[in-house]
């Protein structure tokens, strides 16, 4: 069998979704962003929503999310994505509107916007990438950085008296009347990727059914910021991040 | 014709709404009008005042430092505005709670004991209309018919049955007012 004989339609087992374009991603090798981007793109294609989706990009590593998914995008100021999404969804109620935010964007500078959008029960989906560090600006401490974890602004490890405690904002969001679905997932192996895809799909469907705000936290790695290899990062995440941020559904109405 | 009026008193005495009724009355007779209140916490129990201008021509400044007519309903307002009545102008006061009285001799001073009357006759809600009646007796700047038309325009339909009561209050005020100097 020659190569050309193998490359034929009947042998096709996997193809990249058309919602994801061919622009090479700027993310570091091993970063979770690329996987989550792909999942979102696939779901949009599967739901046949490419023409009905508006994504809101954050400030952080995913600021350029708009370069990779062929949908309409707005790029928000740092932390303000849920405010933009609120207006877009209220003005275009039949559209799919989601924000894509990191831990600094969602749980530090944008805490008010996040909590109030979720509390109003805006019919949006919030995709929350939590890797416990500021990747874009070079590895500074995030609100979700674990106690003892080193970052460029907590070089000797985070301590509660000096830096405050890690913020489990997802737990907080689950308590709000306006949220209908709050879940915490990961994308470090095949099984978890499949589960995360289901979770994001559910979040998107919820927002189209007008059930309220859905939040999908993806506990993620940042091997550059953590200064570990991609494989070691995955192990470190399972060992250290998962006990603090356990993978589970926190709310599912 | 142009009349520049300040109405001042405690919040809750109906100062702002009296001004509003005057402004609506001016509107009903085709005049230019402006109604400029003191606003904010002052409205809630402190001193409140409103500047009302009725004019046949375009009104320039809505904020003034002298007035043709001042209606003062408490002591601090008298102290603040007596000196700001133009010579030959009009000062109307309700003496309830006053311990010092107006002293100027170059203006026309009137007293209207509307508060006392209103409490005695269980009509505190129309007290400001009694005072408005007094004003219209001595300064007939708007026709009573236009006041009633203005009320009709400014009040929601569900309150229109109160208009005869207000008309009565205007008549009472016209009787009650007396020249002091």
């Amino acid at each position: 069998m020659t190569t050309n004989e193998i490359i034929s339609p009947e042998n096709l087992v996997y193809t990249k979704t058309k919602v994801l374009n061919d622009t090479p991603m700027h993310y570091c090798p091993g970063c979770s962003h690329g996987v989550v981007h792909k999942l979102i793109a696939e779901i949009i294609e599967e739901m046949d929503f490419q023409d009905k989706t508006i994504g809101i990009a954050p400030v952080g590593c995913a600021v350029f999310a708009y370069k990779y998914l062929d949908i309409d995008w707005q790029q928000a100021a740092h932390g303000r994505a849920p405010a933009l999404a609120t207006a877009v969804k209220r003005l275009l109620p039949d559209r799919l509107v989601f924000t894509y935010q990191g831990d600094g964007d969602l749980a530090a500078i944008g805490t008010a916007e996040t909590i109030h959008a979720a509390n109003r029960g805006e019919n949006i989906a919030i995709i929350f990438i939590n890797n416990g560090i500021y990747g874009m600006t070079g590895g500074q401490m995030a609100p979700t950085t674990l106690l003892g974890m080193k970052s460029s602004t907590s070089p000797n490890g985070r301590t509660a008296p000096l830096n405050g405690n890690p913020l489990d904002i997802t737990k907080l969001l689950a308590q709000l009347e306006g949220t209908c679905y709050v879940t915490r997932q990961s994308v470090h192996n095949v099984a978890s990727v499949r589960k995360t895809k289901k979770a994001i799909r559910k979040a998107f469907e919820n927002s189209m059914e007008g059930k309220g705000t859905s939040v999908v936290e993806v506990v993620s790695t940042c091997n550059s910021g953590w200064k570990l290899s991609p494989a070691a990062s995955n192990d470190w995440m399972v060992e250290n991040m998962f006990p603090a941020y356990p993978i589970c559904d926190l709310k599912d109405l | 014709m142009k009349e520049e009026i300040i109405i001042a008193g405690f919040g809750g005495q109906g100062v702002l709404s009296m001004g509003k009724i005057l402004a609506y009355s001016g509107l009903m007779q085709g005049q230019e009008v402006s109604w400029m209140p003191s606003y904010g916490p002052e409205q809630r129990g402190g001193t409140a005042n409103v500047t009302v201008i009725l004019s046949d021509e375009r009104i320039s400044s809505p904020v003034l430092n002298s007035y043709d007519t001042a209606i003062v309903l408490n002591q601090p307002s008298l102290e603040r505005f007596e000196s700001k009545v133009k010579p030959g102008g009009t000062l109307i006061f309700d003496s309830n709670g006053f311990h010092k009285f107006p002293t100027r001799t170059d203006i026309n001073i009137y007293r209207i004991d509307a508060t006392e009357y209103a409490y005695a006759n269980d009509s505190t809600k129309t007290m400001n209309m009694i005072i408005l009646g007094g004003l219209l007796k001595v300064r007939p700047i708007v026709k009573v018919a236009n006041v009633l038309k203005g009320l009709k325009k400014s009040l929601p339909d569900r309150h229109h049955h109160l208009i005869p009561m207000n008309e009565k209050a205007i008549e009472v005020g016209m009787e009650l007012i007396q020249k002091v100097n």
């Binding site: 490419q50 023409d51 009905k52 989706t53 508006i54 809101i56 990009a57 600021v63 708009y66 998914l69 062929d70 949908i71 309409d72 995008w73 707005q74 790029q75 928000a76 100021a77 303000r80 405010a83 933009l84 999404a85 609120t86 207006a87 877009v88 209220r90 003005l91 275009l92 559209r95 008010a112 916007e113 109030h116 | 509003k20 402004a23 609506y24 509107l27 230019e32 009008v33 402006s34 109604w35 400029m36 209140p37 606003y39 904010g40 916490p41 009104i59 320039s60 400044s61 809505p62 904020v63 003034l64 430092n65 002298s66 400014s154």
Partner: protein, 367 residues
């Protein structure tokens, strides 16, 4: 709501400047209002909530959690090609500056209303004009301008709402109504603008092809952003913005003159202060002083040519503001030393009286 009756009568009404803005917004096809309460402008949102336009025109009205959020909701709505607006007063507008800078750079049209109160800090709730610099010199970070309208009457509060949206969409840039507590709180006669329907989505797609309404297969994704990591690209964006501002300066200057024909002394003032100065000019004329008033209606673009022409005719100018003297800088730049430009102002929420202005005119300019 029984609005059908209201739709076709062009009748004179009596209302506050703040209320006029709310009514005019609904009537001019505004799609969304997002705001946070602050004195002295809360009547704008209160009136909208009472009008319930979502039941008539479909306009969205939302009380946000902060001014920061309000302006970013405006950004989101504007990105969809919708007519969106917010309103606030000085401290709240300070909080909005980040969002305004983003909107200006992303070249989105919207309306921001600032009913100014005395500052700095929490200041006072009384009227002020001390946000002139913030409004016309930038306010937020970066090189940008806001089309800035300065209404001086309740009628103009209504008219400028319509005009501001039209200009914002004409140039794809935010427009600001810079009013003050007097104009917001006073009642005057007003004829509201006629009803015009909100644009349909098809109309938005046609008129504003950049709007993020969802990407049909026929076009590339629309991306609303103010980010460009390449310096050359960012300079190109800046040059485009500057060209736009020059166009606005060429086409959109508005001002009003009052007894200027034979004036020997020119008073320059905007908003409420211009009304006070008009009375002062009347009083000066009565005393035989040949004074005139020039009222800039647009603060950006500033009426530079008109003021420059007077610099060759009059003996002196007086700028009057409710501030420590901000617009006077722009007047002086135009006059460029040809005649003396003096200043009179009150601060912290005090409105100058016509008497004070006349006195200042006599003492500082006429001499």
């Amino acid at each position: 709501m029984n609005d059908s009756k209201k739709q076709n009568i062009e009748e004179v009404r009596l209302m506050k400047g703040n209320e006029a803005i709310a009514h005019a917004a609904v009537r001019c096809g505004c799609d969304g209002y997002f705001g946070y309460p602050i004195t002295p402008q809360s009547e704008i949102m209160e009136t909208l909530m009472e009008l319930e336009p979502w039941n008539t025109t479909g306009m969205v009205v939302l009380q946000a959690e902060s001014e920061t959020s309000s302006i970013n909701m405006v950004y989101g709505g504007a990105g969809c090609g919708k007519r969106t607006m917010t309103s606030s007063s000085s401290p709240g507008v300070s909080l909005m500056q980040e969002g305004i800078s983003y909107i200006a750079c992303a070249e989105l049209p919207c309306l921001i209303v600032n009913v100014m109160r005395g500052g700095p800090g929490l200041g006072t709730i009384q009227p002020s004009q001390a946000d002139y610099y913030q409004s016309v010199k930038g306010g937020g970070h970066g090189d940008y301008k806001l089309i800035t309208l300065a209404p001086a009457s309740v009628q103009e509060m209504a008219d400028h709402t319509v005009l501001a949206f039209d200009l914002a969409f004409k140039y794809c840039t935010p427009a600001l109504i810079l009013a003050d507590g007097v104009i917001g709180q006073m009642m005057e006669k007003v004829v509201l603008p006629p009803f015009q329907p909100r644009l349909t989505e098809e109309e938005i797609r046609e008129k504003y092809p950049w709007a993020t309404l969802g990407k049909p297969s026929s076009r590339k994704p629309n991306i609303i952003t103010s980010l460009s990591l390449e310096a050359e690209e960012m300079e190109t964006i800046n040059l485009r913005l500057q060209r736009k501002y020059r166009e606005i300066e060429k086409n959109e200057v508005l001002f009003e003159e009052f007894s200027c024909e034979d004036a020997e002394y020119l008073v320059v003032a905007f908003g409420t202060t211009a009304r006070v100065c008009q009375k002062a000019v009347e009083m000066a004329r009565a005393e035989g002083i040949k004074a005139g008033l020039l009222r800039p209606i647009t603060l950006f673009p500033f009426p530079t040519i008109a003021i420059s022409n007077y610099a060759d005719k009059v003996k002196g100018m007086l700028t009057v503001e409710m501030s420590a003297g901000q617009m006077i800088d722009d007047v002086k730049l135009v006059v460029n030393g040809r005649v003396p430009v003096q200043f009179y102002g009150r601060m912290g929420g005090i409105v100058p009286s016509p008497d004070e202005v006349l006195k200042a005119l006599k003492e500082k300019v006429v001499k």
